[in-house]
Assembly symmetry: C2
Homo-oligomer: 324 residues x 2
């Protein structure tokens, strides 16, 4: 029995250290990752995956903790996957009070995993998806994926989710505009957190305005319009994670979206997109490996040096490598 | 004569519409992109490329305008490539006073190009690099690349630059911490803009502290430490783009960094990294095209559908496709 299948067996029987080790293997794409994914992939597809994203300072961590607790209270096995904005460079030390352990088992029903936002071959989105697959296969009922920021990377990360929640706060002012592009259109549920603060009404209004602008102004290829036909319009909710209000309503909205996604075919579409991304990435990697094994890394390096020196254009370099 | 070489000839003679069209071709990776890049790539490598990034609300656009004007006053041909945070979905309409035309020729010596931050095959970083190559080959002396945000995507975009400026503002408070990870370590020049506002001293202090933490705490594989050996420590400057102060000092710092980069070999290293990224991407694309041409898109789609349905794991799917 290989060490990977040994590990798998222990993880399946609930050994938390083995689960953590499995996650590290797939997160870092270690040599055993393929064997682990082969074994576990067929068991995936039953977890509810909820993505939570938004600008820094929105109280997402507290909100996610509240949600995790509430799902757990209903008897779910819950996992939180937090994409940590700390880089290896700073070691997370500057994050002040947000220092977290890399993983923690609070109790039998709740598993927390922090992932670095960088340093993953193939990107953090792919690493997140694999970690979610493992948790799904091991019987976690609800996976909450938390990511900080509103850029393209965050959009890619939360695409792993069946339902995406975008969390904003009152008082962002005009900055709400610059940071929402791209994220608003993948959000299934819009949340104004810290809604006990002044400016909550304006924040709700701003979101509603941006939503209606987006729906009217988008091109036909955008997701927003596809969805208009199948009639899901992201609801705008108010929560206060600190005061623990609005959590039940948020869970209800997530459940409604999940139901709609299953019935409308949206869930199948997202899962097909995810499968496509995974297959295409693996295919590219396998092909590049075949070629570099054949022609050797030295030949590739030599071609790159000539491109850097402007002696060769990149297209000619690739033709040369493939012809070799 | 093909339409591409025709266009190239007109662009070289300074026809601005032809230049704009060339940029669109490479930005969107249109069929003629390879021919254009083949022709122009050998002519690249002379422009000074300056990246400007930082969180929203930092006054980067005004700062970049000031810099562009100052370089032009010195007789440089200047281009600004602005990665626009507006998505196709919103059409940029919500960006209020930052509405821009897609491109604009203000006068003979200044060219402005706005690029969407999404929708580029291969990513916005690659599209930016190609646009910069074209401008470089056509004789632009200074290319300013402006991007909004502090995520991984922005890090990738500004890597195209010979010198990277990170622009912050007073008053970010604790939020300065969450957004700097990953960006701080690629910054060659740190700028506190709006330095006439209260809190500028604190902002400078925060940056200095994060810089020293990073240098001490980073792992040996991080760029910060590599650089420590070759003795470049990013200076921290104060500017007020609105009051037009500190611009000459910023230009001097950029020039000093450029000189250091050329002498220390850092510039060569960055250009080799850029060449590697471009060659590897083209290689992957060529290989995938070879395979999909051979086995047909229908076979790929069928495999993806089986993966989505959990009948097949992604690794087995790729093996099947490559064995076909």
């Amino acid at each position: 029995m290989s060490s990977a299948s040994d590990l798998l067996e222990r993880a399946r029987s609930g050994n938390t250290r083995s689960i953590a080790r499995l996650l590290t293997i797939v997160e870092n794409d270690e040599p055993d990752a393929a064997e682990v994914m082969r074994e576990l992939y067929p068991l995936t597809g039953t977890a509810r995956v909820v993505g939570v994203t938004g600008p820094p300072g929105g109280g997402k961590s507290t909100l996610v903790s509240r949600l995790a607790g509430a799902y757990r209270d209903r008897g779910d096995r819950v996992a939180v996957v937090a994409i940590d904005p700390s880089s290896p460079f700073t070691g997370g030390a500057i994050l002040g009070d947000r220092i977290r352990m890399r993983e923690r088992f609070l109790d039998q029903g709740l598993f927390i995993r922090s992932m670095a936002s960088r340093g993953h071959s193939g990107g953090v989105a792919r690493a997140t998806m694999r970690v979610v697959h493992i948790l799904d296969a091991l019987g976690v009922g609800t996976v909450l994926v938390e990511t900080v920021g509103v850029g393209q990377e965050e959009v890619e990360v939360v695409r792993v989710a069946d339902t995406v929640c975008l969390v904003t706060v009152p008082g962002l002012g005009d900055d709400i505009q610059a940071i929402k592009a791209g994220v608003l259109e993948i959000a299934d549920v819009l949340v104004v957190n810290k809604a006990d603060r002044p400016g909550a009404d304006e924040a709700v209004r701003d979101l509603a305005m941006m939503q209606s602008l987006g729906t009217r102004g988008g091109s036909g290829r955008q997701r927003g319009l596809e969805r208009e036909g199948s009639q899901w319009r992201a609801p705008i909710l108010r929560t206060s994670a600190f005061e623990n209000t609005g959590i039940a309503e948020l869970m209800a909205a997530i459940a409604r979206h999940g139901e709609w996604a299953r019935e409308s075919g949206e869930q199948d579409r997202r899962r097909r997109d995810a499968a496509r991304a995974e297959v295409e990435t693996l295919l590219r990697e396998a092909l590049v490996k075949q070629v570099t094994d054949r022609i050797g890394p030295a030949a590739v390096d030599a071609a790159i040096a000539r491109v850097a020196a402007r002696e060769l254009d990149p297209y000619a370099a690739v033709e040369g490598l493939l012809g070799a």
